[in-house]
Amino acid sequence: MLTVKNLTKSYEAAHGTVHALSNVNFSVQTGQFASIIGKSGSGKSTLLSLLGALDTPTEGEILVDDADIAKLSGAKQTTYRAHKIGFVFQQYNLIPNLSAIENVMLALEFGGMKSGSKRHKRAQELLLGVGLSDDEQLRKPARLSGGQQQRVSIARALANRPAIILADEPTGNLDSETGKKIFKLLHDLTRKENTTIIAVTHDLDIAGKTDRTFLLKDGTLTLQ
């Protein structure tokens, strides 16, 4: 269960204060797939960065299983990100000099899996689960297609069995065919593990198929 209360985020920019989020309230049940739509600059990425403890809110609460993650210290934020959250980015953001399997193993290392051989085995399973062959698993990101890279990134996000997956326009760089496949993959995998997903998307088709859809407009959130 994820509950957001009175969430506000403002940035101090050169030309004054930017109110990226104003008084946002919503909640998502465990295992639900929620989508967020909204124009560019409406505050979607800002919301995800707060939910994922990449940044701290100006005001408000973010309750994940009744713990307020808005008030975590730096070290606890890191642990929270490693264990509770899986991120999927529009630009995949894989580490370029690590192979696909090493990228997944890196997340497992941060998740606290000590044994290298266990990490290797788990990463292999995860990558097979998202459809990467043994050969493709050994390639560096530059030698994989966009769709393949996003699959690796999903495997990485799922690595530590997080409570919440946060996806910021995960299909934004993919053609619509591949985008639909990626969304289906996210959907199927998380259903199996009962993971909550909050995904930002431009694709209203996709948004229509999720459990709930929120609209962000100038930092204000409404349920569709």
Binding site: A82, F87, Q91, F110
Partner: protein, 456 residues
């Protein structure tokens, strides 16, 4: 794979750039080592020269320079005063004399020549001339009748090996300078001329003297000389306690001027005290400036090395901001990211350091030599200090040979590459890596993970 292996792989990610950084580092580290070696060798030589030459004192009786001039030799009391002066660590006393043809059965190994004739022009009539032999022994009449011949120098010394080092002995053994036995070391030319070998005897001052050793030096004058214990010559010439030259050593170069002052005070105008301190200081000046230069080089090259690592790491961190943000976003701690990037910096530094140290070892010898020889002209090297000299040139020879020895020492700076020097340069390399990585580490800690959500 852990932080360390990731860091090492990261360091070699872009071979051309890493290669360039490593090459620059290797050059500055090589320079650091070479400069350290140069400095150590030069400093070692400076203290060696200071310990030997700069602490040497010469004390001559007033008016006497070897066998020339007039006045009285130093007395036993004066020698005792010198020995008891504070900071005097060793004293070797010399009495010089000459043997004319009536004093000995030996034939000199060289001819009188025009120089010898000129030196002897006063001797025919007077027995009290300035360069007269032993007053008690001279017999004007007999001397006047003998055909003129060059004299043979006799040196009585408490320390024969300071005059003729034992490696100059071609046969026989050293004599004891503190005995009063009738024994002698004789020069090779003199021995050959008179068919003498170890165990042979000859006559001088009416006494029989046994040859204990034969020495050979590259000096015809000295090879015609005789060395006997000081007390022996004092007895033979009836001059108990008399000394015509003292070579004294001061315990430390810091005490030379005060010791000279107190000697001048206690001996008054009876003796001339000369130190080679100033001469040593001026000979050492170029070496000291090289040592200073080398230190500046070490500091400069260290700063250059640290700057190279610093700039390289800042470049790397700037370029890979997003990667740093991603690692943080997926749960990597600041400590992990920093260790990874520090390992990258260390890897470059260590590789550069290994190549640099090999480079430094290779160039340090020639570099030290060229630094030193460009500051001093290659001087002819006659390392013979002193010699069985007598006659007219004793102090001059002594000073000249001391100076040539100094020049030799100064030029013979052997590059001393000690394990200590290598350890110091490894320490500097580690310091460079730490300094060079500290600032980027600070920059890494400030990367906000939220930046990875931004799409440019």
């Amino acid at each position: 794979m852990n932080v360390i292996t990731r860091g090492m792989r990261g360091a070699l990610r872009s071979p051309v750039r890493s290669g360039a950084i490593i090459a620059m580092l290797a050059i500055s580290i090589g320079l650091i080592l070479a400069m350290l070696v140069a400095r150590a060798s030069v400093n070692a030589k400076i203290s060696e020269v200071k310990a030997t030459t700069a602490t040497a004192l010469t004390i001559n009786p007033a008016g006497i320079q070897g066998g020339m001039g007039g006045g009285d030799p130093l007395t036993a009391d004066q020698v005792k005063t010198i020995r008891n002066t504070a900071h005097i660590s060793s004293v070797s006393a010399i009495l010089t004399d000459q043997l004319g043809t009536t004093d000995t059965n030996l034939t000199p190994s060289f001819e009188l020549g025009s120089f010898g004739k000129r030196m002897m022009r006063f001797d025919s009539g007077s027995s009290t001339g300035p360069s007269t032999n032993i007053s008690g022994n001279a017999d004007g009449n007999t001397e006047a009748k003998t055909p003129p011949a060059p004299r043979t120098s006799v040196t009585g010394t408490t320390n024969p090996s300071s005059i003729t080092p034992s490696d100059k002995l071609t046969s026989g053994a050293m004599i004891d300078g503190n005995s009063s036995d009738k024994v002698a070391l004789i020069g090779k030319s003199l021995a050959d001329k008179n068919s003498l070998s170890v165990g042979s005897t000859f006559t001088a001052y009416g006494q029989t003297i046994t040859v204990k050793g034969i020495f050979s030096v590259d000096n015809a004058f000295e090879n015609n000389g005789i060395i006997v214990p000081l007390a022996t010559l004092q007895t033979l010439t009836a001059q108990p306690g008399a000394v015509t030259n003292i070579a004294a050593t001061v315990d430390s170069s810091d005490n030379v001027s005060s010791t000279v002052a107190s000697l001048k005070k206690s001996l008054g105008d009876k003796a001339d005290v000369t130190s080679q301190e100033e001469e040593a200081a001026s000979s050492l000046a170029p070496l000291e400036s090289i040592a200073g230069l080398a230190l500046a080089g070490v500091i400069g090259a260290s700063i250059a090395g640290a700057t190279i690592v610093l700039l390289a790491m800042i470049m790397v961190v700037r370029e890979r901001r997003r990667e740093i943000g991603v690692i943080k976003a997926i749960g990597g701690s600041n400590a992990k990211v920093i260790s990874q990037f520090m390992t990258e910096g260390m890897t470059l530094t260590v590789i550069g350091g290994i190549i640099g140290i090999v480079l430094g070892i290779a160039v340090s010898g020639p570099m030290t030599q060229s630094l030193v020889s460009s500051s001093k002209d290659g001087a002819p090297t006659n390392g013979q200090q002193g010699g069985p000299t007598s006659g007219s040139n004793k102090p001059a020879v002594f000073l000249r040979s001391a100076r040539t020895q100094l020049t030799t020492n100064v030029n013979n700076v052997t590059s001393t590459l000690t394990p200590q020097t290598v350890v110091i340069s490894i320490g500097i390399v580690a310091l460079i890596a730490i300094i060079g990585s500290a600032v980027p580490a600070w920059a890494i800690a400030r990367v906000r993970p939220a930046e990875v959500l931004r799409t440019e």
